[in-house]
């Protein structure tokens, strides 16, 4: 019994940890260190409730724990003045405009408020529905819509060539 419990947890980690690690990396603002810590924390919680969670699909649960932990952490770090903002890397301007544009978009994504960032990651990178995103973030679909709209609006400005040129100098 215990053996199958452990084995199924190992299998889940082996199968899904890359995807979860990438979500963690994005929602925590692009810090590998924080992402690893978040992921371990989320998986630990999952492990603790594995007998119950594994009966269903554990991934949405893991995602929910992950994004909410990232949001809470960001909030608490503000309180603690220990903001470990992973500064977007100084990306040299490549010759290819579209590559540079994508680099700017991700840098801007990582600067968005944590909840807004999480919404964009879940909705547009993971392709979750509004309802699934709302469930993951424990908020209403209306809130998902408004956060997505605001986040996209901010990123969309960089698609305007004049703004892009101004920002990238």
């Amino acid at each position: 019994m215990r053996e199958s419990y452990e084995r199924s947890f190992d299998e889940f980690v082996a199968a899904r940890s890359t995807s979860l690690m990438r979500i963690a990396y994005l929602v925590c603002g692009g810090s590998h260190h924080d992402a690893e810590d978040l992921l371990q924390g989320a998986l630990e919680k999952l492990y603790r409730h594995w007998d119950r969670v594994s009966a269903d699909d554990p991934e949405p649960y893991a995602r929910r724990v992950l994004v909410n932990a990232a949001i809470s952490r960001a909030r608490r770090r503000r309180l603690l003045r220990e903001v470990n903002v992973a500064a977007p890397p100084d990306t040299p301007v490549p010759e290819d405009h579209s590559v540079h544009l994508r680099s700017v978009l991700v840098a801007e994504l990582l600067k968005l408020p944590p909840r807004q960032r999480a919404v964009l990651v879940l909705r547009y990178w993971l392709d979750l529905s509004e309802a699934e995103t709302a469930a993951a973030l424990r908020c209403s679909t209306g809130s998902v819509k408004s956060q997505a709209s605001r986040g996209l609006a901010r990123l969309r400005t960089y698609l305007d060539p004049s703004v892009f040129a101004e920002v990238t100098g």
Partner: protein, 265 residues
Amino acid sequence: MNVEETLRKAIDERVAEVRPPAGLAQAVRRRRARRRTWYGVAAVAAATAVIAGAFPAYQALTAPPQAPVLSGGGSPDPALPTPGGVEPALPSPGVSAPDGKRDESTATFSPETGPFEVTATAEPEATPAPAGDGREYGGIAIGHIPGGLKWNGQTLENTFGSAPSTYSRMWGVDGEKWVQVIVYRGAAVGDLAARLAGYREQGAKPIRINGHEAFQVRTGEAMGLLMEKGQPVLAWTQPGYGIEILSHDVAESEVRAVAESIETK
């Protein structure tokens, strides 16, 4: 150009090299075991201290989780690591050792998973936590802590606000439920007073705590901004002191009881 599609592609490129660390499942088990071990050992140590009056042993055993507590024996729980597999754990930055020395290690405070999560990233130092329930510090004494919550043995000093002279301790259980009481002294009181004024401006209704005007609110990610589902905060100032209580999964009435039990020296 479609921003959603461009963003998706941009993220794909950015995370292509992001991979989880090797041995993740085992690391998760070790992390779980550390937490369980600390609680188990602390509970046993408390009982030992009461029964045998073995205060030094209690002090040693209730220190932040240290590998040696496991030495000399295996565990019937398969999740528990072997003694050699236990990772060292450290206080967080800004956490003072009992002798008042500030720890400058790189360990991370891990608040969202609870104040009892200790993540080690540096060599451990033998700094047993002060004994007791930790209710006297920063010039205050706390008369009531909700049942079941235990002090994590750490004091954060000068971490909050722009001015020094802040002291913080946390009591919790299993990282899920906790209260944190932050004491502001000297110039640091002004930081808190400014936030309280902001709460009032945003429409928060004051309550009274031991005759002082206080605010019990929820704040968002931007410190000082009220938010319906934000972090619960109960705070007030009084001559020479500012006190702020943060909590998670603790009833408002319980938090008020903590506040009302606080006496200043």
